[in-house]
Symmetry: C2
């Protein structure tokens, strides 16, 4: 894919256009609510269930929007991506649907369940040792003559626009949402969600949420420049990205109203509450929005919205991690 | 409530009428599908997600259909029910919505989580010792002058009709479903689902599923008379009823095509598959339909339908039970 032009940022039209591209291909995921959770928080919470999306996460949307726009020639040549997580599965799944060859570069310590899921969609997985090699170098070696189209994980207008379609669906059906919470890893979901939300309701406050242990975007937001952190050991593996991208950051600075951080304990509490009260399986990153509201409650902060939207980003959690979380006592 | 007339069984119109009664009050639960599960079974499976229903189970539908039809005078007097499980929560929740006083008779060994959930909806819980007292006697003692309306758990036309509305929604949207699987405890869900399915598509085969350890309805079905079993120690607590009712059995005999039983191991495998591939939290009883298809697969039975509907009846499972299930190795 062509390197994007930082001077031409995606906007609301880009998101709307991505929604057209995805129509009939993405799952129009459900929106759920719980009287118990509403009573706890003191507002009406609407959870957009991207755990129900293809491959169990919103990442399908961006990957489809990017890959389906490749030329016939590019599709015949194949695509390449690196990821140890949901982006790998998303690219593999989209390529399976569009009959494109996919090569995914994965660290050799990636969870076997994620490698198997990626391979189950027919992708070729190339392993590398993250202690001695860089994924960029491996990708360049494989793709010496640039014959393969590289699909970036977040810092590209097509990816950002695709990710924003989840919030567009949620806000389109519920334009009275006055606060929208989205998790932040590389910033693709957050920046796309912000464009979508502000486009539907310019008064909607958009809040990005990160684990305290992975607060690079929060630091960047407050310092006005991109901050890179060391590998963050948070349970929310979807947010372990070391920094946001220049495009996602430019959008976040312009359209996101606030960043919040949450403790590991509150992330796990949010996973438990969603398990018991929404009957949904979410990965820790997908529970960040609710975790932020729980932190606000503990801090005694007033709820500043009647209707709050939460992007529940994914549900790819292994049984052992879920069991560990369920074994801990509830806070609320 | 008046004792029902066994000679006037509910029919498709009764279900349609219940659907009208429930409109705007029940959650129109989602229908989900998974390419992975479809490939495993060799058919298109549509899961009706009653785990997303109020109180986390289909039981809300029957309770609402029965209680909302009481006279104003009956509502003012209050209702009474006995149950250690989802029916207790359903009656309590409906009464909370309709501002009716509810008394629930529960065994003193009922899981604390279920008692708390019932109380959280504002119901009065009366405990009894199931070793020395009968729930019928306790209920009669409390309700000496029949001032309270008794809400039966399954053997009543209003309850059966309410439970059938889940299948009606599923079949209405997907009339090409040629096989429908529903779990069977007291038979309210199965009999209501059969009436709904046959009414929409008379060629649809309706199959009831029970744990091998709680096969009273299967025995009854084959022997042509109601068989009562001893307390069955199955993990599928929603199907631990000792026998079906005379009304539910009459409908099952007439409209259900087959009964199947499943092993405890396969029930747990189905819970795991639904966790990983649909990202849904289901209780073991809710996984019986998928478990039956997995048993068929192991037995080498041909899949006799292109599109199969599954009533995923509920999601009220405690964390410890889920963790135990997730800790076991996968079969598929």
């Amino acid at each position: 894919m062509k390197p994007p032009n930082i001077n031409k940022l995606p906007n609301f039209d880009t998101i709307s256009d991505a929604a057209k591209q995805l129509e009939g291909h993405r799952i129009r995921t459900g929106v759920m609510s719980s009287p118990w959770i509403n009573a706890l928080i003191g507002a009406k919470l609407l959870f957009k269930c991207e755990n129900q999306q293809h491959i169990g996460a919103f990442k399908f949307r961006g990957a489809y929007n990017a890959i389906s726009r490749l030329s016939k020639q590019q599709m015949q040549a194949g695509v390449i991506a690196y990821s140890s997580g949901n982006h790998a599965q998303a690219v593999a799944r989209v390529c399976q649907m569009l009959k494109i060859e996919a090569t995914i570069v994965m660290p050799d310590n990636a969870p076997i369940i994620k490698r198997q899921a990626t391979e189950s969609y027919g992708a070729r997985v190339v392993e590398y040792n993250p202690d001695t090699e860089s994924r960029e170098n491996i990708t360049d070696q494989i793709n010496k003559n640039d014959q393969l189209s590289f699909i970036p994980p977040f810092n590209h207008p097509h990816i950002i626009a695709g990710q924003g379609t989840a919030a567009l669906e949620l806000m389109g059906d519920n334009p009275d949402i006055s606060k929208l919470l989205a998790p932040c890893g590389g910033g693709g979901l957050l920046s796309g969600s912000a464009l979508a939300a502000k486009g539907v309701n310019s008064n909607c406050k958009v809040v990005g949420v990160e684990p305290e242990l992975a607060d690079d975007a929060t630091q960047s937001f407050h310092q006005g420049k991109i901050i890179t952190i060391d590998y963050p050991d948070t349970i929310a593996d979807g947010t372990r990205t070391l920094s946001v991208g220049d495009i996602t950051f430019a959008i976040i600075r312009e359209h996101v109203d606030a960043m919040e951080t949450v403790s590991e304990a509150m992330i796990k509490e949010a996973v438990r509450i969603i398990f018991y009260h929404l009957k949904q399986v979410v990965e820790p990153s997908g529970a960040l929005g609710l975790a932020a509201l729980l932190e606000d409650k503990v801090a005694g902060k007033a709820v500043a919205a009647d209707t709050i939207g939460i992007i529940m980003s994914g549900g790819n959690i292994d049984g052992q991690t879920m069991s560990t979380i369920l074994a801990e006592p509830s806070i609320f």
